[in-house]
Amino acid sequence: MRSLSPVDPRPDLWTRSLWSAAIAAVVLVVLMVLPAVLSLYWLRLATNVLMLAVVAQGINAMAGFIGYPAFGNVVFFGIGAYGTGIAVTAGIGLVSALAFGAIPAATLALLAGPLLLRLRGHYFAIATLGLNEVVSSLASNLSGLTGGAAGLSLPLSSGIATDVAHRTYLAFVALFLASIVLGIVLRDSRFGYGCRAIRANEEAAEATGVSTLRVKAAAWAVSALLTALAGGLYARWVGFIEPSLVFDMAISVKAFVIFLLGGAGTVFGPLIGSLLVESATTLAWSHLLKLHLMVLGVTIMLIVLVVPDGVQGFMLRLWPALKTRLLGRPRC
């Protein structure tokens, strides 16, 4: 098992939460200012970065906190997208429509959780992939409801393009903020403590009275909720969804890579990771079209080989070496 980020002693808990809240406030201000200074193209990228950061936070809750590799978590993205999409097409307002995606997703996690969360490692990962395939197949085949494999078109948003883009962006900022709050709660709360105990040593956690199955299922439900909201907003944003798009395993993998880059169990890691990954993806796509899969694939492999504990972990490892170089060896 990889070691966790250090667990702070309880007295410093409030300090850490306050610090994170302060940083979040700064980040929020920056994010709010961006629409005024960015062109629509860059704003679109920023929206994408935020969306992926949210999905990655969902992965973080699973892989980073309870240590379960939910490779098929994209299933909740798809459920969110279709639930919201169908509701919006039926004329329901966005905020309520989001619930149509989020609630089924969370319900699925709560129902499937107790069954699947008894599996570990690869078996759990594959089970979630299987779940994704089954739901994706349902979406493809229940054409009456979902438009089938041909996809579902949502009615256009009203208003001029710039306003719509700004509104979409702000919606994602709000969701992103929610994910940050979740991150802080996970990191600093008793619930989060229980999660990390499970990740470190599940048997030991059981022995100390942590009801592991319930904690795991709750974590997955929260992760599902967050991911489904992202999917719902995404459906409204792009206006057209199909099963191969919103149940695509690549979304999960991207989120995983972002989570890796940002560092497991951290609050702002998903944002850092998402910035890096999306920049790389956009560069690859625009300049190296024929090779972009190769570049991304090689980049992913390199990241796993070189930076397994994320950028922050990488920095932490680098710092002592740098310090020694700059300040000389300490004498014992």
């Binding site: 570990r120 490692g121 690869h122 078996y123 990962a125 299987g130 085949n141 024929k290 991304l296 796993v304």
Partner: protein, 293 residues
């Protein structure tokens, strides 16, 4: 009634192909706890190598499987030795993501070298069928089924009756204790991955001869391999055949009752059921699943 019997036979024969693919996947997972998401692309690479050998170099098809096996054996050995061995101590999702990245790279490689066109090797097997009573079995499928049985048998013999097999099994249970017995663990891992590659190569050449293939077609092979391995049980070589046949039959029967679009989903639904009810699978060995989880 005859229709059902024919469908079951078709399913069984399809299971032969599934077993071929799952064997390589299973041995790498079982021995090294590596789930190779690039496996399907390795099969495709085997198909392309065969295509090169037969259609570009004009060689007879009989040469294709050994050639593809050899190429993928070497590729597999190098990949494991140089790259994957570094991930040996890491967690499960690291190798999953790594092999996903590898998959992307391999797909792009195939795209660059061979373009996205769908290809196949025509006229390798006769189009005639074997008659079994009132049922008919296309020869091409029978040959693939036979290949599946043969490879399963060969691997079974290798693992249980040879020194190399003993070495591989020991390493799969406890690499540290294996080192103490003088086993060169990185080499054994690389060899195992290479064997998986060779199986992928042979499967690829069979696929090229009986179906069509393209750089993106590998995905479904990887996914199906999951299902077969879980059904048959990790750590069991015969399990691949059993799991493959089961999946083949279930898929074919299901398409009688349900929309054809649900065909793939049925396999995954079955996977979920097995994982919840009996994660060890049908023939999963004792001490295996516990160690590997």
């Amino acid at each position: 009634m005859q229709l059902v019997a024919q469908i079951i036979l078709n399913g069984m024969l399809l299971g032969g192909l599934y077993a071929c693919m799952a064997l390589g996947f299973s041995i790498v997972w079982g021995v090294m706890n590596v789930v190779n998401l690039a496996y399907g692309s390795m099969i495709m690479l085997g198909a392309y190598v065969s295509w090169l050998a037969v259609l570009q170099l004009g060689l007879p098809f009989a040469v294709a499987p050994p050639t593809a096996a050899a190429v993928l054996f070497c590729l597999g050995y190098i990949l494991q030795r140089i790259l994957l061995n570094r991930l040996a101590e890491r967690s499960v999702f690291m190798t999953l993501i790594f092999t996903f990245g590898l998959n992307m790279a391999l797909i792009n490689l195939n795209l660059l070298l061979f373009s996205a066109d769908v290809r196949s090797l025509p006229d390798v097997f006769t189009r005639t069928s074997l008659s079994i009573g009132e049922l008919s079995a296309p020869w091409s499928r029978v040959i693939i089924f036979g290949a599946g049985i043969a490879m399963t048998g060969a691997l079974h013999v290798l693992l249980n009756f040879t020194r190399l097999g003993n070495t591989i099994k020991a390493t799969s249970f406890d690499p540290g204790a294996a080192r103490l017995s003088g086993i060169d663990v990185p080499h054994v891992f690389a060899l195992t991955f290479a064997i998986g590659g060779a199986v992928a190569g042979i499967t690829g050449s069979l696929v090229a001869a009986s179906y069509s293939f393209s750089p993106f077609a590998g995905e479904s092979y990887t996914m199906k391999s999951f299902v077969v391995v879980v059904l048959g049980g990790l750590g069991s070589v015969p399990g691949a055949i059993i799991g493959g046949i089961m999946l083949g039959i279930v898929e074919n029967l299901a398409s009688l009752l349900l929309d054809s679009g649900y065909r793939d989903a049925i396999g995954f639904a079955l996977l979920l059921v097995v994982l919840v009810a009996r994660p060890r699978g049908l023939l999963g060995k004792r001490f295996f699943a516990e160690v590997k989880l």
